[in-house]
Subunit: 226 residues, 2 copies
Amino acid sequence: MSDRHSTLRTQRRVQTQRAIQAHAVRLFTERGYDATTVTDVAEAAGVSPMTVYRHFPTKEDLVLVDQNGRLVAERIVASAGTRPLVRRIGRALADSAAALTGDGGDDPTAGRGFLLARLRLMISTPALRARHLDNHYALQQAIVDALGDEAADPEAAFRAKVAAGACLAALHTALVRWAEEDGRTELPGVITKALAAAFGDDMADPSGDAGTPDTGRGPSGDTGRR
Amino acid sequence: MSDRHSTLRTQRRVQTQRAIQAHAVRLFTERGYDATTVTDVAEAAGVSPMTVYRHFPTKEDLVLVDQNGRLVAERIVASAGTRPLVRRIGRALADSAAALTGDGGDDPTAGRGFLLARLRLMISTPALRARHLDNHYALQQAIVDALGDEAADPEAAFRAKVAAGACLAALHTALVRWAEEDGRTELPGVITKALAAAFGDDMADPSGDAGTPDTGRGPSGDTGRR
DNA sequence: TACCAACTTGGTAGTCACTACCATGGTGGT
DNA sequence: ACCACCATGGTAGTGACTACCAAGTTGGTA
């Protein structure tokens, strides 16, 4: 029904949503997450606290808003079937990361700089860090679900879940490192190094471009943001 | 200074602490975590809400209270130096898990049953799950710190962090599986299986007893609980 | 025994995240 | 011009959590 009802309404909706999030991350960075109230964010964005809660169910969601899960899952499904799991999953993660570090155009809630600011908050603030890790846990289950018939019996599903969890842990450590380096290095490269450290150096795929990306642009021109 | 001041005071303190936690986990299991207020827990334990907050800084800590981090770190340091990191860390995790699944004697907040109840809550309740994962993240850093001079330069520290994170992710998946099986299987065995699924079957150490433990008792008689 | 210090507990009031419930005004289609 | 929809705003309330302070108890000491 009413597919994208009218662009004007949803456009405004997305616009205020982005404005709220941009002001939120800015204020959180300036004053600290705990020292900033939702009312502060609302005032900065020129809306009422109610509107903030309408767009972001919790204060933490003002920073998190990870919806690249489907992106990763689709990449894994797309990758052909017989290679080891950790390799397929790791490759999908590195490729998706490349797509996220491109510039976001006129969107203030996209691009490398904003991702860095969000990551710094996620790392330094316990509540955000915890929920970010829980998002990774949800992504872990999404990956297993995406494998579908490949992880049919419980034993295979368990192994897939372990592989996905271990890969995501490596990803998280790589993200932390990347943020500590202020994003100066290329994120996909850091991820690949982390995967190699966890599962052996044979993870560095000689037939791919994930290890030494050209400009940081993802394999697809789309940024993956809605 | 005043080392264990007098046993009577600390004994009472530990006693009320255990009582509060036991009632908390019971109520959370019966009524649900979100549907149970801290005041409910306080009333059930026969104390004031203030006292609950004195002993447990947050409502989540009523379920979490993980203090086996040092246990794991010490085991890793104790293990000799040249074997691959994931193997040393994994072994330490499996061994520590064995110590946790023993019976807790008269302590209602120890033993397999209570651990299972806590785990079920941690898995099903988003807030608890998130904070549990964050505890694992803290343990990850503790492991790296424990390695000390073995992870001196940043690159080695990064690899160690990745290894620890991946091992802990495997541990978490194993814990979930163990809880789903209602603790019928032996926890160290599940952990070993998870590590093998993540890092290859050569993780199953033929020279140890971690894969097929005798009775579930840990290698040391002490339960590790204070 | 009398006294003091430390510790544990309890109460009150307040902040803040978050959630109903309802009112209003602008948007888009008919 | 009418109406359905939707985004926004207000009010009141719950619950976690945090000061700030009061009271009783315990342990050691003069």
